[in-house]
């Protein structure tokens, strides 16, 4: 099988997920070529053909131009599978390509099973086995599902692509997240609040436990979106990735974006009323309990 792997870069920097597409191709036994709109100064390390459009000419992500470039490369390579990361880049571009090729797309692949690819459903409580009907399949890979066996190596054979710049969507610029305040990356203990805390007042219970353990409090996305906690407290793929000695998830169901930001913590405790919540997949200890009663009980013991 031939696979075309769509690598990613932002502001000229190659993004790590690009190597996950290589790991997936190896697992599928596919012969791989790569596509990248990026910089000559930061190329993916692998032995194979790399189709490169120079980001200095192409500019930052522009869906129509990336689609045009990809269609050109697909025409030359005729791959059976085109592989993206399930990222803000991949989930935006992949369906455009699938539609243009009249190909089926399988989103957020985590593995394979029974002749199909495995994807999560219902907040990871279920998995679907999905297969494409036609000869070409577009897939996006869940972040972290396919890990490279070792450090990257190799030197690609670069084929340069000619860039055009017509687009209906105009890129204005980037905005960075506000930094400052707390650095969760340095905390040895993080106690995080999820939607299950119910109301903003209960954040104080989480904060008190964090303090009693000499750590910091964090939050899941819905808690930050609701304005109950600052963005610099957010743990997950759109916030911070943390690896403390102890992570206590309070009322966090464990959406994949949250798990991506904390699953490498040394020891994980989850407190949840739903024992089937996906957080149980990564938790060393799951306490089925009401937070409002449990957190004060634990904090009191630490104080006493």
């Amino acid at each position: 099988m031939k696979a075309l792997l769509v690598a990613e870069s932002r502001q000229g920097k190659l993004l790590g997920g690009s190597y996950e597409t290589l790991a997936f191709a190896r697992q599928q036994g596919a012969e791989a070529a790569m596509f990248l709109v990026g910089s000559n100064a930061d190329l993916p390390q692998f032995d194979g053909r790399l189709y490169l459009a120079d980001v200095a000419e192409a500019g930052e992500y522009n869906p129509e131009e990336h689609l045009r470039l990809l269609l050109d490369v697909v025409g030359r390579e005729t791959p059976q599978m085109i592989v993206f990361c399930h990222s803000s880049y991949g989930w935006d571009l992949a369906p455009r390509l699938a539609l243009a090729l009249k190909a089926g797309q399988i989103s957020e692949v985590v593995g394979s099973k029974d002749g199909g690819l495995l994807v999560p459903a219902c907040n990871s409580k279920l998995r679907r086995v999905v297969a494409a009907v036609g000869a070409t399949t577009v897939v996006t890979l869940q972040s972290g599902a396919f890990n490279p066996a070792g450090p990257p190596s190799g030197t690609p054979t670069v084929e340069k692509l000619a860039v055009q710049k017509a687009s209906k969507v105009e890129f204005i610029g980037y905005e960075e997240a506000e930094k400052g305040g707390v650095d969760l990356g340095k905390a040895k203990v993080i106690v995080s609040a999820g939607r299950g805390i119910g109301k903003p007042e209960n954040l104080a219970l989480v904060e008190a436990l964090a303090k009693a353990l000499g750590g910091e409090y964090g939050a899941s996305r819905p808690v930050v979106d609701a304005g109950w906690a600052e963005h610099n407290r957010q743990v997950g793929s759109t916030g911070q990735t943390v690896t403390p000695k102890l992570y206590i998830a309070c009322g966090i169901s464990g959406a994949v974006q949250h798990l991506a930001g904390m699953k490498k913590s040394e020891f994980i405790v989850a407190i949840n009323t739903d024992r089937d919540a996906p957080i149980s997949e990564v938790a060393d200890v799951l306490l089925v309990a009401d937070l409002k009663q449990f957190l004060p009980a634990l904090t009191a013991r630490l104080a006493g």
Partner: protein, 257 residues
């Protein structure tokens, strides 16, 4: 300004899911249903835009069996003007291209200036339908928006990227936008608006009239994930639980050393 919002009805994600008899999807028995969370932000953004402009129409569309009208009624109670229901008892069995093509078949000659969808559904989560719909209609699309502004036919949005970074992009209507959580604060329907919504029109359309596309993917089976974790599950009196947890933390971690 004519605005279309596509909404999906999904089960409450805290449900205990069981599989249907064919093993192809979840069983619909004993589930509580609600509007897909991402779509609530889509509805709210459409309403805010109509309010900003002082006129316009917000049409809410949903595909599925009769129960999906409840999700549409919520959108109507939030303030949408009318509904379009594509009646389909087997919508769960259609792939994203088929869903998008049915919406496109309806929307093609309706002259919508803006289409809002959720960035994905909570149950299937393909994140494809919005982008495919835009492609079928020949509209520019921006996905995963977390901020929206409109002035004189120009739309400026912030796309959410990874690690807290956002991209600011600009485009002109007609266009399609897929909405991320946190885009705005969806309003709660008030009682008078819930009463008013009961009188709003819901146009019924049939699948046969709209579905022309064949599926390009198929579900082989739906299964439960293999349990990886040998994690310990504890329940009982909170005082006992706190004592047990402290003992475990002292043994297995270095936080008290």
């Amino acid at each position: 300004m004519k605005i279309l919002v596509c909404v999906k009805q999904v089960p409450d994600m805290e449900s205990r899911f069981k599989l249907n008899a064919a093993g192809s999807w979840y069983s619909e028995q004993d589930l509580a249903w609600r509007m897909n969370e991402y779509d609530e932000f889509a509805v709210e953004q459409a309403l805010q835009l109509r309010e900003q402009l002082g006129d316009g129409e917000v049409v809410v569309l949903s595909i599925g069996p009769d129960r999906v009208k409840e999700a549409m009624k919520k959108a109507l109670a939030m303030g949408a003007d009318r509904g379009v229901h594509i009646q389909d008892d087997a919508s769960f069995d259609k792939d994203p291209l088929q869903i998008a093509s049915m919406i496109a078949a309806y929307a093609a000659d309706q002259g919508f200036d803006l289409i809002f969808t959720g960035m994905q559904s909570q149950d299937r989560g393909s994140a494809q339908v919005g982008v495919l719909l835009a492609g079928l209609l020949g509209l520019p699309a921006v996905t995963t928006i977390v901020a929206f502004a409109y002035a004189d036919g120009a739309v400026t949005v912030r796309r959410e990227l990874e690690g807290g970074q956002k991209a600011v992009v600009k485009l002109t209507t007609p266009a399609l936008l897929t909405c991320q959580l946190g885009l705005n604060t969806p309003r709660y329907p008030t009682l008078p608006n819930i009463m008013k919504a009961k009188k709003k029109e819901i146009l019924a359309l049939t699948v046969a009239d709209l579905l022309k596309a064949a599926a390009v993917t198929k579900t082989v089976a739906t299964v439960f994930p293999e349990k990886k974790g040998g994690g310990l599950v504890l329940e009982g009196d909170v005082g006992d639980l706190a004592d047990k947890l402290l003992a475990i933390l002292k043994e297995k971690t270095t936080v008290f050393k």
